[in-house]
């Protein structure tokens, strides 16, 4: 109808009006988001492309014959092994590729989920919170186009990741159908978490909260799958509540079945419909819940020394603390069930630092060390929060209010250290309570809490490394994260990958005695404590000398 009103066509510089649809402008938005995230996607894909064959190669070396494989299969009698890897198929004849699926699958699903969460938040709530969505929506772009473009880009990323996984397994000699299933299941699981994130992004106005919620759901999925598979090693009713189980239940490389992936696909569709429906009910920039009015002026606590750091860091610390405490309880309570299997597993000592004569103690100690990677990551993230503050120009604001750099940074460090130390004690208490619940021996509560204290110098050292790097050069801070990732790798997989001691010793966490089962050694703790103090001094001195990034 509008065409009849329009004057006869003239030569103008304007493009002809296009028919408006909710998806108008989709193509250019996909190109825009793809351009923004292409580097991240390439890095994730290349990392998987390298790490998958490398892990398979490491396993080939670690398990050269059927004897070793049988020993590995026996390890799966241990519930914690099932918890940390995957369901135990191929009980009759444990093949090398069955082990690859069992061992590796969970650890490619998790990165895919994390990548999907981060990319989805970046292109949905992140854009919206920064106000860029408003800019885009002011262009002739359809109402649904930005969200659909974000999903297309995340889908492409997951497809790339899946293809890299398939290629990586094929190169190492995996059978074709299995390799395809591994890649496809990973891509679909990534999309399940992308869709979950899209729903989470509707509830909150804040990108950080949205990714926190989605990653929390991933942690929950990890727990549910683990506990479900502990109930029945091939997967119980509980397992099926976890998206991670849907991928693992394909029984890839053992007895491949495709239909569990239909559950993933159905979940993706249902969640996306839900996200779309929720987005209808809110305004651009708003969450589903309106923000309430806050205090008119700052409390004395906020204005006290370190008050700002406390305020900015505590929220996420608390959330992580609660989550990790629940993990600690759950793992601790697994300890007793181990003793039943001990006689059947003579080989276990080779693959995890678990001693035969004190299974409960050494298992609890091992669990505590794995859990400690939480506080280790959190102290680094808490210290490096200063970097975010600096780039946003807010650090300059706090400085011009009359605090010295050294004092501000030192107080910040101490606040983060104190909170992570409390969390570590809480983790020890959690493991102790769990073991107590399983064994009825109250001594465990005190023992495990005391054992947790031995990690404090190491945790402080990680924080001090981050502070030193932050003080020296803002561009070096990623090295601190590299150290955290390396530590996690060594802690979770060090024994399994059969890495030499020299490589393991790079991780400070590796120098902490495995209390309560191992002998207490004071020297490494003292060295790490002194190292932490030295690095804090270095960081503060360097911070005094360098230019601030923004202000």
């Amino acid at each position: 109808m509008s065409t009849s009103i329009r004057p006869p066509s003239r030569h103008t510089h304007r493009a002809d009006p296009v028919a408006a649809s909710p998806l108008t402008g989709l193509g250019s938005l996909v190109r825009l988001y793809g351009r923004i995230s292409r580097r991240a996607i390439i890095v994730w894909t290349l990392a998987v492309l390298v790490l998958v064959p490398a892990s398979i190669l490491a396993m080939e070396e670690a398990y050269p014959d059927q004897g070793a494989l049988d020993a590995r299969a026996m390890l799966l009698d241990n519930p914690s092994a099932v918890m940390m890897t995957g369901p135990y198929f191929a009980t009759e004849h444990y093949t090398f590729w069955a082990m690859v699926a069992n061992e590796l699958f969970l650890y490619i699903l998790i990165p895919a989920a994390i990548m999907s969460v981060l990319l989805t938040v970046r292109h949905t709530r992140g854009e919206e919170e920064a106000g860029r969505l408003e800019l885009i929506r002011a262009l002739p772009a359809g109402r649904l186009a930005p969200a659909v473009a974000a999903l297309i880009v995340v889908s492409l990323a997951n497809l790339a990741l899946g293809a890299a996984i398939t290629a990586g397994t094929l190169v190492m000699g995996g059978e074709i159908a299995g390799s395809l299933a591994l890649g496809l299941a990973t891509a679909l699981t990534g999309m399940v978490f992308a869709s979950l994130t899209a729903v989470a992004a509707q509830f909150t106005e804040h990108a950080g909260t949205a990714s926190g919620m989605a990653l929390g759901l991933l942690a929950l999925a990890f727990m549910v799958r683990g506990v479900g598979d502990v109930i029945d090693r091939q997967g119980s009713w509980l397992s099926w509540f976890s998206p991670l189980a849907w991928a693992q239940q394909t029984r890839v490389f053992v007895d491949l079945r495709w239909w569990p992936l239909l559950v993933s696909l159905a979940a993706v569709i249902a969640l996306l419909v839900l996200a779309g429906a929720l987005s209808h009910r809110r305004d651009v920039g708003a969450g589903l819940r309106a923000a309430s009015a806050g205090p008119r002026s700052a409390s004395p606590a906020l204005l006290a020394r370190g008050g700002l750091a406390r305020r900015l860091v505590t929220g996420s610390m608390l959330a992580w603390g609660i989550g990790l405490f629940l993990f600690a309880l759950a793992f601790g309570s697994l300890a007793s069930s181990l003793t039943d299997f001990i006689e059947e597993m003579p080989a276990i000592g080779e693959f995890a630092p678990i001693a035969m004569d004190d299974v409960t103690g050494s298992f609890s100690a091992f669990v505590l060390m794995m859990l400690t990677t939480g506080p280790v990551a959190l102290i680094v993230s808490g210290v490096l929060r200063m970097r975010t503050e600096e780039f946003a120009g807010r650090l300059a604001g706090a400085l011009v209010a009359g605090t010295s750099r050294v004092r501000l940074a030192l107080m910040w460090f101490l606040v983060v250290l104190l909170e992570t130390a409390l969390m570590q004690v809480l983790l020890g208490l959690g493991v102790g309570l769990g073991v107590w619940a399983a064994t009825d021996d109250t001594a465990w509560i005190g023992d495990m809490t005391a054992a947790a204290l031995a990690y404090l110098p190491a945790i402080a050292l990680y924080g001090a490394v981050a502070l030193a790097l932050y003080g020296l050069n803002l561009r070096l801070t990623s090295v601190a994260w590299a150290l955290v990732v390396y530590t996690a790798l060594i802690t979770f997989l060090g024994d399994l990958l059969g890495l030499p001691d020299g490589a393991k010793d790079v991780s400070p966490l590796n120098h902490v005695p495995l209390l309560p089962s191992a002998e207490f050694e004071g020297v490494p703790l003292l060295v790490m404590g002194v190292g932490a103090v030295v690095l804090v001094v270095v960081g503060l001195a360097a911070l005094r000398r360098r230019d601030l990034a923004a202000g």
């Binding site: 923000a291 008119r296 700052a298 906020l302 604001g397 706090a398 209010a401 605090t403 010295s404 202000g551």
Partner: protein
């Protein structure tokens, strides 16, 4: 050329005792870029000094050196008689700062952010002043900072800085994002600071604001100060625009020194004249029997364009002059 003149005229104000800020041949390099390149600045005590320059000229870099956030590569800077790098904390106790683009802690309320930014201030007088400013700027201090618009974030910064009882106020494009009503309140508050004997360094690219508020002006270009002095001094270096209507032959006018860009459109004349030559031009105009005459004094805009105009095409320069 003229920079030496003005340096002489402001020379008396540049002694340490009566200047709040003294910067001499300051250089700051980031890698291969020279953000500041031999930059001089004097901010006399008890005055409002304007700091003018387009985006990227080095205004914010200079201010961040004065705040002790960046270390100068060479040259000297003195704020309230102290070195800003080594005495940052002492200086900050006597200085307040308004950034051009305020980024606040998203989950703190505006009121909390104001208190965090004025941590050192205590007492009933400060609370009263804080309340008064919040009311004047019509700020809701109970809203979370993440829900504030740019203008409201800027108000938080302004309330925080203006509520501080300090000697020196450094403001980096403080009115960006404010509406005209709030700008008027800001102007009023700065006038009160001056009446109170406080020193203000006001960086801006809004010429009207600087013209309204500032006693002296420093213009920066590509990291160098290209002009500084009082507005009266600077105006002497510029040209007034004369528009007249006369049917007489304009030849004697064209022959005069100091008359530039003469445009004749029928009986309407238009030209620029050096302010120093106005004295010689007026008798000529009288003899020509003008029927209408307007003389537009040079605006800061003209001054500004003189220093930045040669980046523009000659045509757009005169177009800019006509606009004013």
């Amino acid at each position: 050329m003229t920079a030496t003149d003005t340096a002489d005229t402001t020379g008396s104000a540049s002694t340490t005792s009566d200047a709040a800020v003294v910067v001499r041949s300051l250089t700051k390099t980031f890698g291969t870029t020279r953000a500041l390149d031999g930059f001089d600045l004097t901010v006399p005590r008890g005055q409002v000094t304007g700091f003018l320059g387009p985006n990227g000229a080095g205004k914010s870099t200079a201010i961040r050196v004065l705040l002790g956030l960046l270390r100068a590569s060479s040259g000297s800077a003195e704020v309230l008689g102290m070195d800003p790098w080594s005495h940052a904390v002492q200086i900050h106790q006597r200085l307040a700062y308004v950034p051009g683009d305020t980024n606040l802690w998203p989950n703190l309320t505006g009121g909390e952010a104001i208190d965090v930014l004025t941590r050192g201030e205590k007492g009933a007088a400060h609370r009263r002043r804080r309340g008064e400013l919040i009311e004047r700027f019509e700020l809701d201090p109970r809203k979370r900072s993440r829900t504030y618009s740019k203008g409201n974030r800027q108000k938080v910064s302004l309330v925080a800085a203006l509520s501080r009882d300090v000697d020196l106020y450094i403001m980096d494009e403080p009115t960006s994002g404010l509406d005209p009503l709030m700008e008027a309140i800001f102007t009023d508050e700065v006038a009160r600071l001056r009446a109170d004997g406080r020193t203000v360094l006001l960086s801006s690219h809004i010429l009207a604001e600087v013209e309204k508020l500032c006693d002296t002006v420093t213009i920066i270009r590509a990291g160098k100060d290209v002009e500084s002095g009082t507005l009266v001094q600077l105006r002497h270096l510029t040209r007034s625009t004369v528009a007249a209507t006369s049917s007489a032959d304009p030849a004697p006018l064209a022959a005069l020194d100091g008359v530039h860009d003469l445009v004749i459109d029928g009986d309407r004349l238009r030209f620029d004249v050096d302010d120093a030559a106005l004295h010689d031009v007026l008798p000529v105009l009288t003899r020509m029997g003008v029927t209408a005459l307007t003389i537009t004094p040079p605006s800061l805009e003209d001054l500004f364009l003189r220093h930045y105009g040669d980046d523009l095409a000659a045509g757009s320069r005169s177009a800019g002059a006509e606009d004013s």
